[in-house]
């Protein structure tokens, strides 16, 4: 007997995709991506003094702060109730009365919802990218491609986190609470780490003097969305980042492979926890 069978996984993934691609919030957010990328590109072009669109790198860096919030938001919207909500409405009872294993349901959901995120990002950023490529050129094209892939991956990380929360929470409403917590962590992380920095006896002037301890940079792995921003900057081969209004150099140890491995860990661990929670869960 095989452990995991591809056909039931595909069936669940297909259902999740068809069911969620019509989610009005996903449609709105995808349209927002297109509008934002065009708007940010235009703003980036304005900064150079030209009355035209900015290049891909400037556009991406302008957009990074917003995309690091919007993509997690899409993932949380899709994933927060996928187990708890379906258990509450009863549809999960029916699915699990069929010849399918719980792990197959979980993987199917991840793939189906992941496909929705991927399509949303590809459509939104892809369309924007085409406009920039036509009007400005394909400079930093590889970085832009990496940006799209990393944007999909940050979506999958938050999807994994929200599925984990959904597997744990008994009710949909508590899953919403969990989703809000992980979303706000991505917002408040910067403030928290600055507070810890100042609490450790450092001052704002230390930023300008370059007197920044290693742990300050290492801690970026505690926030997937901040890590996503750093990884995108690395992908564009950028050496300095803006933190709390100060421009600082990204240390060498936060290399692209290290950041990718850290992101993969953020993706896989919640998923493994979700599996064990879902496996033991009373539906």
């Amino acid at each position: 007997m095989t452990f995991i069978r591809p056909k039931p996984i595909y069936t669940v993934a297909k259902k999740e995709f068809i069911d969620n691609i019509r989610n009005k919030w996903i449609i709105i957010l995808t349209m927002l991506f297109v509008i934002l990328i065009i708007a940010f590109s235009y703003v980036a072009g304005g900064q150079t003094g030209d009355d035209t669109f900015g290049n891909m790198q400037n556009t991406v860096f302008g957009l990074l702060g917003i995309s690091s919030l919007l993509i997690p938001l899409i993932a949380i919207i899709l994933g927060f109730s996928t187990i708890s909500g379906e258990a509450e409405t009863g549809s999960l009872y029916v699915v699990l009365s069929y010849p399918i294993k719980r792990i197959e349901v979980l993987i199917g959901k991840l793939l189906g919802l992941g496909a929705v995120i991927s399509l949303s990002v590809l459509l939104g950023f892809g369309f924007g990218g085409i406009i920039i490529a036509i009007t400005v050129g394909t400079e930093s094209f590889q970085g832009y491609l990496a940006f799209i892939l990393l944007s999909i991956f940050i979506g999958l990380i938050y999807l994994s986190l929200s599925i984990c929360i959904s597997s744990y929470c008994k009710r949909r409403i508590t899953s919403i609470g969990g989703g809000i917590v992980i979303f706000f962590w991505s917002i408040i992380y910067g403030t928290v780490i600055i507070a810890v920095f100042l609490g450790a006896g450092y001052e704002f002037s230390d930023f300008m003097r370059g007197n920044i301890p290693d742990w300050f940079f290492n801690s970026v792995i505690l926030s997937p969305s901040d890590m996503y921003q750093t990884t995108v900057q690395r992908a564009f081969d950028v050496k300095t980042i803006e933190t709390a209004g100060f421009s600082v150099s990204i240390p060498e140890f936060l290399s692209l492979p290290v950041l990718l491995i850290a992101q993969f860990i953020w993706f896989i661990i919640p998923l493994v926890i979700a599996y064990f929670l879902f496996k033991r869960r009373d539906i």
Partner: protein
């Protein structure tokens, strides 16, 4: 040996008694000396030969957060029967069904569906199973066709059955509407259609008629009968006892997570000594008719109210009573026979389980 705490009906004094299943115990209240009898409920569990059972539940115990929901429950359902699974709210019916389907983890117990152990052969066990939960909710953004398509794929069943299934449950015209716009009854019918995918040999229906209006109830009842005629085993839990009585071959009654009775409705009534009742409207009624009736063997009680004679009697005495009344020159206007109902049996069993007489 079963231990029970019962209450004296007169002084409400509580006393603990011990006995075996099916035993009749004569008691005297130590507080007020009232005498009475307590029947320990039968816990007959059918032990059929291997392979004859569609469902077997052995020693199911489930504890939720320290509360005992199901207590060492064992019963089996024979292939080809319609089996009613009854109990008051919170008795443990849904918990039992969920444990059988592997939706919840039991503390103890083994479960067999079509002879497959659900723990070791869960996939095989569920291949020929159709399940309808109490709240049949599906995916709001999908159409009925897409919904059934999903379930067909899960069972590896050809999609050509979808439209005939929708036609069978009367949802053909709504096949392209979103399920999110469906009424509760329509969702339930979609749920029924879903259960029929892959021609299951066992149907487990949890309160399939709950909250539905008469039209939908009739449709689902007819469907259950039809599926059973085609050879399927149907287990359904319900609180609409009249429905259970109409269509079930056997019933199991649980209370506080324990099986307190399992038999045919007829046998339960016989065991509980629930008698039929006669209401005879007599034109020239008088007190003498009571004397005639009370002399007959099998008459438990009789009384007159206005022009109606109310009699509780053994089933076999009914004809004798009527012929005796007519022979005595009374003119009978109308006769109403009230057969023992499952509801009476159910209430009596639950009452007995709670410690009543």
């Amino acid at each position: 040996m079963v231990k029970k705490i019962i209450m004296c009906p007169k002084c409400k004094h509580q006393l603990t008694i011990e006995g075996v299943a099916g035993e009749k115990k004569y008691l005297t209240c130590p507080n007020c000396n009232t005498r009475g009898v307590f029947n320990f409920p039968s816990e007959k569990v059918i032990q059929s030969e291997p392979g004859a059972n569609a469902i077997e539940i052995k020693g199911l115990t489930k504890i939720y957060n320290g509360t005992l929901a199901v207590d060492n429950l064992s019963f089996s359902v024979k292939k080809g029967e319609i089996f009613g699974f009854l109990g008051p709210n919170g008795a443990g019916k849904t918990t039992t069904i969920k444990a059988l389907l592997g939706l919840i983890r039991s503390n103890t117990g083994e479960f067999y569906i079509n002879g497959y152990n659900t723990k070791n052969d869960g996939i095989e066990a569920k291949k020929k199973l159709g399940y309808l939960p109490e709240r049949a909710n599906f995916y709001d953004n999908l159409t009925p066709v897409q919904t059934l398509n999903f379930f067909c794929e899960l069972k590896n069943v050809d999609k050509s059955i979808i439209l005939p299934l929708l036609k069978e449950v009367g949802l053909e015209e709504s096949k392209n509407k979103k399920v999110g716009n469906f009424s509760k009854g329509m969702r339930q019918l979609l749920g029924v259609a879903q259960t029929m995918i892959g021609d299951p040999s066992i149907y487990i229906l949890d309160e399939p008629m709950g909250g539905l209006d008469a039209r939908w109830v009739k449709t689902i009842r007819e469907k259950i009968k039809q599926l059973n005629k085609q050879g399927a085993t149907v287990i359904f839990s319900s609180h609409i006892l009249s429905e259970v009585q109409t269509i079930c071959d056997r019933v199991a009654i649980i209370n506080n997570g324990r099986l307190i009775a399992q038999d045919t409705v007829e046998n339960l009534n016989q065991y509980l000594k629930i008698k039929p009742r006669l209401e005879i409207i007599i034109k020239n009624i008088n007190q003498k008719v009571l004397e005639i009736v009370n002399k007959l063997d099998g008459v438990v009680s009789a009384k007159i109210e206005k022009n109606t004679l109310y009699i509780t009697c053994e089933a076999k005495t009914k004809v004798k009573i009527i012929s005796n009344i007519e022979d005595a020159g009374y003119e009978i206007d109308n006769i109403i026979t009230l057969e023992p109902s499952l509801e009476e049996a159910f209430m009596k069993i639950i009452d007995m389980d709670r410690g009543g007489k």
